[in-house]
Symmetry: C2
């Protein structure tokens, strides 16, 4: 049973004139709930509220999100808290209303823990043919317009392949359909540049901050899809899963290597228990 | 007062789990209603249903749209009929549900006739700094994800400027925020290539078909933003307005020229009375 609060009131429907629906004019977050706690809630709210500022959407106070999210999550052992923030209702036309009142939705959704095998052996990944468009105006943001990811994810069925990588039309790999990508090259961590597209993932931020703290060399760069074959290790991250090693793309196998393992240990230290004991 | 039919039932709210809301996983149309008639309804339904097929959204029969749209429009002298078609509700996650039932929304919205001056003297246009992303997977479609257009339209206020042009990051002009763009060069009609982004407008199709019929030379090409200064005439089109000549971009003035005027006469012939008598 889903459980939603819409502008503070229990409900499960939104106005058809809400600009989140009509134009994708809004943002969202999905937050791991573990034993009643919201994992990295501060980081999620950072991204949401910075994004709202960038889009000039007037957001409620951070504390209101904290209070409502905490209330929804407190009795959940394992779930996903979703937050949606839109520019609110408006008449037809792209021009944002002068006096828009944003809509705020929080919902607690069921979650299922991923198979342990994905953390131990890694996951099989494919390259998607649906390309990701460069859209500097919204790059990094988790906007409501995710049709490219939907189409990319629809390219395969079945359980063998877990994630698909998305690249720009000119051949730079950016991310997975639902994850950020990391490469290890000569002991250093590399992750694609998100200046023109892709989502600035919360777990990506966690990983990069941790790498900095433990003295692991890291850099953000433009990564040609072809160059993935030269990587020593590969892994993907997101807020709900933590980190999954990539063990294969097409006929190229990757080891679950030392850098990946050390970062999984770091995440375990930070309370991401899915990554523990490997 | 807005007037909506949602899957055939009067209402004004949609489930928060509708993928049109959560992921922009859907399409829409806005159709001019004039004296109870739906202008170019067939062309709008062509685009909607072809788009649904391309996105693998299972759409209801065309006749159902025709019937519901006609019922909503029949008593309206002047308005806009909006149709929204989404992939329907689904659980969290980008993967489209195997057995999704699409959501169909039709609403009659109020309309206000644009000032006559815009047809006679033309409109002032600007270049937007918000760029339009190349996204071949959805190019041409009127998807629900229109945040780039929203941000571009938010770049200016006031009545002096009527429309903003959007270009790719590499400097090719594609469209207006709410319109398609046409240039006249040496007597021939040119309109930007929409193979990688932009919306394949119904009025654009009408214009190109008419140009073909009357023997006006036309072509689709990649148009560098800088090359607009070399155009002899410029105009924009959309379903609701018909055609507006462009009289100025920054310090470059354009005449309302012979080709533009002849096409306005053709549109008048086809019942787009806004373009009449100029």
């Amino acid at each position: 049973m889903n459980n939603w609060l819409i502008d503070g009131v229990a409900g499960d429907r939104i106005a058809v004139t809400d600009r989140g629906f009509t134009y994708g004019d809004g943002l969202f977050e999905t937050i791991a709930v573990r034993e009643g706690q919201l994992r990295f809630l501060d980081y999620h709210l950072d991204r949401l509220l910075n994004g709202a500022e960038q889009l000039n959407i007037s957001a409620p106070e951070r504390n209101l999100f904290v209070a409502e999210a905490g209330e929804l999550a407190k009795n959940s052992d394992y779930g996903t808290l979703k937050i949606i923030l839109t520019r609110g209702t408006g008449q037809r036309g792209y021009s944002p209303p002068d006096q828009a009142t944003s809509s705020r939705l929080l919902g607690l959704l069921p979650g299922v823990a991923p198979a342990r095998k994905k953390y131990i052996d890694g996951i099989v990944v494919r390259h998607c043919s649906t390309s990701i468009g460069r859209s500097p105006a919204t790059a990094g943001l988790k906007t409501l317009g995710r049709l490219e990811q939907v189409l990319a994810r629809a390219e395969w069925k079945g359980e063998t392949i877990t994630e698909g990588l998305m690249s720009t039309a000119d051949g730079y790999v950016i991310c997975g359909t639902m994850s950020n990508l990391f490469l290890v090259r000569h002991g250093a961590l590399v992750t694609p540049n998100l200046a023109t597209c892709g989502i600035n993932g919360v777990m990506r931020r966690v990983i990069l901050e941790r790498a900095e703290r433990i003295g692991l060399q890291w850099r953000v760069e433009d990564v040609l899809r072809e160059s993935l074959t030269d990587a020593d290790e590969l892994f993907v991250t997101n807020s709900l899963i933590g980190l999954w090693p990539v063990c294969r793309i097409a006929d190229r196998a990757y080891p679950v290597g030392a850098v990946t393992r050390s970062l999984m240990a770091e995440l375990t230290d930070m309370g991401i228990s899915e990554c523990a004991g490997l």
